[in-house]
Symmetry: C2
Subunit: 162 residues, 2 copies
DNA sequence: CGTGAAAAGAACCTGAC
DNA sequence: GTCAGGTTCTTTTCACG
C-alpha cells in the first residue's frame, strides 16, 4: 500500500469505471501494472466493490430518515441486526454507542411508507423504542474526499496487509 | 423508465463494472441497446456516477461517528452546510427535521482525530452545539437492495423524466 | 427503439527483465 | 513489481429495420 495504490484508490472512488490505461496515465504506470495492483487491492479487501450511484428520488425513494433503535434490556444485538437486515428499506445499519443500539438509514417512497416501516421496526423482537429524524435535504453523501490520501502517513492503527 | 431500465439499474448498483454485454444478457437486450439506455439514465440524472467502495479501516479511517449539528438562532443553513462541506472528514451531510439542523457522518483515523474534528465543527460559525454518536460497528452500509425494483409500480411522487 | 456489423480500445494472460 | 505483446472481449458508432 504505497502512494501509487492510494492514488489509484482515490481515482477509483471518484470514477469506478476508470480503465486501467486511464489509471496508468494518472499514476505513471502501465495498464498491466495497474491491473495487478487493483487485483491485489480487491483481494486484500481494500476495494470491496464497484457500484453505480442512483439518485433515490428518481427511483421512487423520495423520503429518507435516520432512525435510532433502542433495544429492550434482554435483546440480542445480533438478532436485532439480522432483523434489520431483512428490511430492504433499511439501507445502512450502524451499531452505536449511547442509549440506542443502532442507527439505521431508511429510504421509502412516501411518509406513509415511512410510517409503515417504523411500525415494522418497532415490531422487531428486541426493539423497545425508535427515534426518527426525517431527512429534509441531502447536502452530500458518501463523498470520496477522505481516502486517507491526505493523511500524514500511517498512524499505526487499523491496517490490512497487502 | 421501464422494467428493463430498473433491472439494469439494479445490476449496476450491485456491480458497477458490469459490461454492457453482461447487462444485455441479464435483461435480454443487445449490448448496444443497453449502452444507449445506460447513457440516457446517466443523462437523466438517474445514475449519478460509479464509485469503488473502500473498506475505511484499510485506508486508515477506523473511526466513524454521526454528529448532530445544532445551529445558533441566527445561523444561515446554507453557510453552515458550505462550511461542513469544507471538511474532508465529513463524508455525508443531511439537513434534518428536529432540534438539529444537520446530521453528518464523519470518518477519521482515531478518536484523537475525532476530538479535533468535533472542535473544528463547533468552531464553525452558526454551530451552537454538536451531539456525537460514535459508531461501534458498521453492520451494512449503502445496500443496493431497495432500488424501487420491488415497488408496486409508481406511487405518483418524485419522478424524473426519461 | 431495437439490431448487427465493424473499428477502436480495453481486459487479461503470458513471458521476460 | 513492472512491462510489452497478443488474444479475446467490450465499447462505441452507425446504417438499417
Amino acid at each position: 500500500m504505497d502512494r501509487l495504490d492510494r492514488k489509484i484508490i482515490a481515482e477509483l472512488r471518484r470514477n469506478g469505471r476508470a480503465t486501467y490505461a486511464e489509471l496508468g496515465r494518472i499514476v505513471g504506470l502501465s495498464a498491466s501494472s495497474v491491473h495487478e495492483r487493483v487485483g491485489k487491492l480487491e483481494a486484500a479487501g481494500v476495494i470491496t466493490g464497484y457500484h453505480a450511484m442512483v439518485d433515490p428520488r428518481t427511483v421512487g425513494l423520495g423520503v429518507t430518515a435516520l432512525v435510532g433503535i433502542q433495544p429492550t434490556d434482554t435483546a440480542s444485538d445480533e438478532d436485532v441486526a439480522d432483523a434489520l437486515a431483512e428490511l430492504p428499506e433499511v439501507e445502512s445499519c450502524y451499531g452505536v454507542a449511547g442509549e440506542e443500539a443502532f442507527v439505521v438509514k431508511v429510504r421509502v417512497p412516501t411518509v406513509d411508507e415511512l410510517e409503515h416501516t417504523l411500525g415494522r421496526l418497532r415490531r422487531i423482537d428486541g426493539v423497545a423504542r425508535t427515534h426518527t429524524t426525517v431527512v429534509l435535504s441531502t447536502r452530500f453523501e458518501g463523498r470520496p474526499n477522505n481516502t486517507g490520501l491526505d493523511l500524514p502517513e500511517d498512524t499505526g492503527r487499523g491496517g490490512v496487509a497487502s
